[in-house]
């Protein structure tokens, strides 16, 4: 694993499995006997959030605190960013304060990459969502959640069938999940109206379907995506009601799923739009497990990036 986690492409399949294994060992100790671990004592983790977030920020904060790191939360609202400070100046301020890791969420695709490559800071950079590009820790926690529900999957996801449904075009969660799940051997089908499928989809290692009822027959995992109204400048579908009829997971579709199939959603959910309340609260839904597993995955990632010596640092015997 590189010094940074910017994209799922930074990880090989075995490194991804290693992170999942680390998270499952962490779940045995930190959910059980040891709530707090001393591993990152004295290290500083900065949460640099230019976009709103509940789950991801709290999850990173709680992961860092459980490993005894110091956490500084920075959100664009109420900071000098609203006075017009640039990413560069903000980054250099964090550098001067001695941050060891920067967790960044930004509305611009590639912001995390820019931060990592620019030479502005020496800290590890963890991408917590950049525009419509990637959200690697979400994909890792989704893979972890899937693995915990299908105990046969240990070293790879061969034979697993996953349908990712909804606003693929704007979804960084979908991109990271496609990369990770196919890397691990799963078969992924993307389901969306044609207007919400990105250009160039034929280069992705996935199948595409426009028919939700057909696509969710015999899949193991149905991953619903949020309709990202805030990123939609144009109208991508005639009305919310029509979208919901065609691509929402309602009770009838929920009942048509196999008994072992699980329903996932990265949150926040638009209840009644892409997922009905019955589906969101059903026993097939693992939405809350995803949130709980997020803390473990982020602990594992922080441990992998900060737990050892810097890769360029000297190594003693």
């Amino acid at each position: 694993m590189d010094k940074h986690l910017l994209s799922i492409n930074d990880l090989s399949a075995s490194e991804a499995i290693q992170i999942l294994n680390t998270a499952s060992e962490l779940s045995k100790i930190s959910d059980g006997p040891m709530k707090k671990l001393p591993t990152l004592r004295g290290r500083t983790v900065v949460n640099l959030f230019f976009e709103d977030s509940t789950r991801t920020r709290i999850s990173f904060e709680s992961a860092a605190k459980r490993l005894s790191a110091d956490v500084i939360n920075f959100s664009a609202k109420g900071s000098s960013v609203s006075k017009g400070e640039s990413l560069k100046d903000t980054a250099q301020t964090l550098q001067a304060m001695g941050a060891d890791a920067v967790v960044i969420r930004h509305g611009a695709s590639g912001a995390a990459q820019r931060l990592a490559d620019s030479g502005w800071i020496s800290a590890c950079v963890i991408n917590a969502g950049d525009g419509t590009h990637e959200h690697p820790t979400q994909a890792l926690l989704d893979a972890y959640t899937i693995r915990s529900k299908f105990p046969d999957l240990t070293e790879n996801f061969n034979g697993l069938k996953v349908a990712i449904v909804g606003d693929i075009l704007h979804s960084r969660v979908a991109r990271s999940n496609v990369l990770l799940l196919t890397k691990l051997g799963a078969k992924v089908t993307l389901v969306a109206p044609p207007t919400l499928i990105p250009v160039g989809i034929s280069n992705w290692p996935v199948e595409v379907s426009y028919d939700l009822d057909q696509a969710i027959k015999n899949v193991d995992v149905v991953m619903m995506l949020r309709v990202q109204s805030e990123r939609m400048a144009a109208s991508f579908f005639p009305s919310e009601r029509e979208y919901s009829r065609g691509y929402g997971l309602d009770l009838a579709r929920l009942n048509s799923l196999n008994s072992s199939t699980i329903v996932m959603h990265p949150g926040p959910m638009n209840r009644g739009l892409e997922i009905s309340a019955e589906s969101a609260d059903s026993h097939k839904s693992v939405v809350l497990a995803q949130v709980a597993n997020g803390v473990l995955i982020r602990m594992a990632v922080l441990y992998q990036l900060l737990g050892g010596a810097a890769l360029t640092g000297e190594v003693s015997a």
């Binding site: 680390t22 045995k28 671990l37 001393p38 050892g308 010596a309 190594v315």
Partner: protein
Amino acid sequence: MATVLDAGEIGRALKRIAHEIIEHNHGLENVVLLGIPTRGAFLGTRIANFLGEIASPVPVGTLDITLHRDDLRMRPPRPLLPTNIPLGGIEGRDVVLVDDVLFSGRTIRAALDAIGEIGRPRSVQLAVLVDRGHRELPIRADYVGKNIPTSSNESVRVHLSEIDGNDSVEITAGA
């Protein structure tokens, strides 16, 4: 390379340690074994099997100390190994830590920290297959399979049939 313990000697040493644990604790009612992965965990299970044959079954678990190490920042990140605390926990028990080689004592210090996070045992004792000296901390073992005087540039390798295919302890000259 010199073999200092063979399979038979390892077996006898572990059996003797099992007897010493019973003697020292006046029985096994309150004893819990915790092996430190990787090889300490196998040794813990073996000692527990001997205790079960000689006297009565004891709870046995494993304790990974990676996250408590003081040299984490000097090496690349290590994979975590399993931690399984026995059901009854360790609160008020006599915990016997089991490891393969006692050297600087730093692993045991980390293990004591880890135990402190889990609970407050009545006592913590230490059983090792090999004590090779060169302590860097004020730590000693209660039960020792064999004391092996070494020079600090030699390395001691413990092989166990569970993962290495055979039982032996070897000393090799350092680089």
